[in-house]
Assembly symmetry: C2
Homo-oligomer: 522 residues x 2
């Protein structure tokens, strides 16, 4: 069923140069071999996306919504096939992949509904004031319009929800932007099946062929070419700090710099306040251990740092966590490279000065790894920024504090985060209220009494944050605000009704702001 | 009255190194000499802004609104003094400066009203679904919160409306961000009087002293230090492509890259369609000449390119423009450097291959310059991108086309623009409708039958555009959307009422989106 080819402008295209995908659990090569895109092929994909732009951007939102829904249907129709291949390529369990598929199709339908509601296009009308002195005011209307062709990088850790038809692709297509996906080399077959689904949707909905393109590649070349290509107008990326920063640097060094939406890393600190630890330390420790090891710790929102006061509550927390973690068996990570990097991180912490702790359980082989928990004093943590770095996987650092002042110092010492959590009881309210303004500047999402893994696809969700959590602090890659990343305001002064885009005409009746007053539309 | 000092944390601070401001009309030095900020002083200003952040960001919008209104009042109270000094520093006429003062104070009050309305903070609530399967949905709320300290660069061409208390400062303060202004060296005295006004407002409103700071400097050093300072979280800039790009590059190369909102240049093309030229070529030519020479052509929206079909209509247009321009006397530009650059641009075009045209009137001396109009075939223009560059001042290029296809080619050949204008009659509708999708990708604001100078401060206004018109295509530096540049979404999951920021609580009653439905608030 798989051909290992790229999808460019509605056609499957082979490359001379190919690579073999690997099963991380077994180390075995998977067939077929997959094309490795070169600059010429990337250029063709960008040109196809550009050629599709005018047609696609001019479609009514209802047409784009129907297209998104059809993609969701076609993905569902290939559900068993996707799960089977994704299991081989990612070592993720079937139940997790099925859940992720539901998230992916749910997200496509959520965006479809949202663009039909029209609110996200922020239509505005300033009425003419022909009698204003000293000069009349012309009528000005504005609305958000699509940016142009968007490059999307598939993420290793979500082969569906942050990959080929994941959040970046879905939000760009919802905005009216054609997409070129650079498939992640860890799951090219999964990408290809999803691309097949999208191709059927393109044909069924009469969309221009270049509205979606998939280029595969094993190294950095194709991605770099894509980000630098002059026709690409924005980039969506989820991945490592190092790789993401390199691509960000390319995006902003172009003759025409473009928006780069990169989600690069986060340790998602948990501030366990004394009242909470005292009242239910053991329960919290067990819950935290479960969040830490879910999906072999390979979530962007994995809670990799706990900040707490010394004391009996913390001991209860750590003991319960230790018991829970001891029961976790070795599990295969997404790729051999990721497992190797995880082992290196854990090894580094094991040898770090002032750090105690251990890998829990016996050393595992291949891509399979075990959880690890380290402990360090706040003083040591504050003095050694290498201890702040993300360890991608089920590993964490517990920072022991002498008092709440030290907890606040740790909060201030954090880099940018996707999330920050406060575990608290009523008696912790003053301490929590003192922490929140500090944490608000460090993270995109603040949680009270919960764990950060599990990101709702909803209107209020913020999945982003200060750098390096995101390269664009004003954006989210999850939730309906994700669409806004691929839109820009355009104003029309003194235009005729028949020259205005959808959503902005006088008789259109959609939601809009008229002279600063909100109208909900018909 | 003037001291030539910087304003840092509520205190006037002198520098050992100083520079002398110049009167561009006479070339004479103005007193007093002005401090030239070094890195240490810039650092103190950034630290003062950071120290003010927590307090200022936590103020209710009504307090910030009162502060903005008080700044407007204090500027008005110094109106005569500001006009007198700004005339000496900018050579702009009193009436223009008075109009610009009205725009500046009107903008402060417009932003004050808008933050009180609350819509711009985009409050969202996703209600909890405790019974959802397979997992309950937590309550998630989100709202836009201020970014942190903002650096603002005063612009030479708007010593009030895009300078010390101009649009960037006003929108940052409205958003809840403290500001450090790097004063433009062409009008330091004007900046200082406006800073005096702001200082009185700070004290009268009980705002933290570091909420506004002014650092003066004659060269590039202070500005570079400011953009690179780790406490600065965003930058607003209006100026040249070269200077702006250098600062942009610094902003995105920081260890933590920050948003840089730069408005760098635009030639604001005018597409004169055949029907319009045939029906009223002379009238349009005279109107265009007036727009081109307004304020000695020193507006960002100056219409510096006309694209038209050969023919009698174009001859009428050019003849009327020529007559109008012949009546324009030499006028002093904002600085000697700007006049020199203008003469160099005009001189370059005079010698360019395939270009005809002339400076209109006799050569003037000092900083005073005359308008210039050049003509070129579309073929030549398309083949020589140096002809596309902005000539800051009252100079323009008329691109003669053989047919509307060539007009569309010119449209496609444009770089990013603030504005693009279509002059049309009913018979031009098809040609206009073919051009609009092309121009929409090139410019932030499209006009029908008007001239681009004159930018309304309103809700629908878009003053920005694809690079190099703006370094951030998604943003505007004029109108209520300007505030959005300095805000970022923060989500609060399962929070207690008393831990939420203003505008987001359950009983707050402001405008918000609840489960995707818009509520206008009480």
């Amino acid at each position: 069923m798989l051909n290992g080819h790229h999808l460019v402008n509605g056609t499957w295209v082979a490359s001379e140069r190919t690579f073999a995908p690997l099963n991380p659990a077994t180390g075995e090569e998977l067939s077929p071999r997959v094309g490795d895109a070169d600059a010429a092929l990337v250029g063709k994909a960008a040109e196809a996306a550009e050629a599709a732009f005018a047609d696609y951007a001019a479609r009514p939102a209802s047409d784009r919504a129907a297209f998104l829904r059809r993609i969701a249907d076609e993905i569902e129709a290939r559900g068993a096939e996707i799960t089977e291949r994704a299991q081989q390529e990612s070592a993720l369990p079937a139940a997790r992949l099925e859940g992720e598929r539901g998230r992916t199709t749910g997200q496509l339908r959520f965006f479809a509904d949202w663009i039909e509601a029209g609110i996200c296009f922020d239509a505005r009308v300033d009425t003419a004031q022909p009698d204003r002195k000293p000069a009349p005011r012309p009528e000005i209307r504005s609305i958000l319009r699509p940016l142009g062709p968007v490059a999307v990088f598939g993420a290793s850790n979500f082969p569906l929800a942050f990959s080929t038809a994941g959040g970046d692709t879905a939000s760009a297509l919802a905005a009216g932007c054609p997409v070129v996906v650079k498939g992640h080399p860890a799951h090219p077959g999964t990408s290809e099946i999803v691309a097949q689904a999208i191709l059927v949707a393109i044909e069924a909905c009469g969309m221009p062929a270049g509205v979606f393109n998939l280029v595969q590649g094993s190294g950095h070349e194709a991605g770099g070419e894509l980000v630098r290509h002059p026709l690409i107008q924005a980039v969506g990326f989820t991945g490592s700090l190092r790789g993401g920063r390199a691509l960000f640097d390319m995006a902003v060094s172009r003759p025409q710099p473009i928006p780069f939406y990169g989600e690069l890393g986060s340790v998602n600190p948990v501030f366990a306040l004394p009242g909470a630890l005292g009242a239910r330390g053991a329960e919290l420790g067990a819950g935290w251990a479960q969040s830490l090891t879910m999906g072999v710790g390979q979530f962007c929102t994995n809670p990799g740092v706990v900040v707490a006061l010394e004391g009996a509550g913390l001991s209860d927390f750590l003991q319960a966590a230790d018991e829970a973690l001891t029961g976790v068996s070795a599990q295969s990570m997404l790729t051999g490279g990721i497992a190797k990097a995880y082992r290196a991180s854990v090894g580094r912490l094991t040898k770090a000065s002032g750090v105690t702790g251990r890998r829990i359980g016996e050393e595992a082989g291949g891509s399979a790894v075990l959880p690890a928990v380290f402990e360090v004093s706040a003083e040591t943590w504050l003095s050694d920024s290498s201890l702040h770095e993300e360890m991608f996987g089920p590993a964490a650092v517990v920072v022991r504090c002498k008092d709440t002042g030290e907890m606040a110092d740790v909060a201030r010492g954090l880099e940018g985060q996707l999330t920050a959590t406060v575990l608290m009881e009523d008696g912790d309210l003053d301490a929590a209220r003192a922490l929140v303004p500090v944490l608000e500047r460090k993270a995109g999402r603040l949680l009270r009494n919960g764990f950060s893994t599990g990101v709702e696809v909803s209107h209020a969700m913020m999945h982003g944050g200060p750098y390096p959590a995101s390269t664009d602090v004003r954006s989210t890659s999850v939730g309906s605000r994700a669409i806004d990343r691929f839109l820009r305001p355009v104003a029309y002064q003194n235009f005729l009704e028949e020259m205005l885009p959808e959503g902005l005409g006088g008789n259109d009746g959609g939601p809009r702001l008229v002279d600063g007053k909100a109208h909900s539309g018909t």
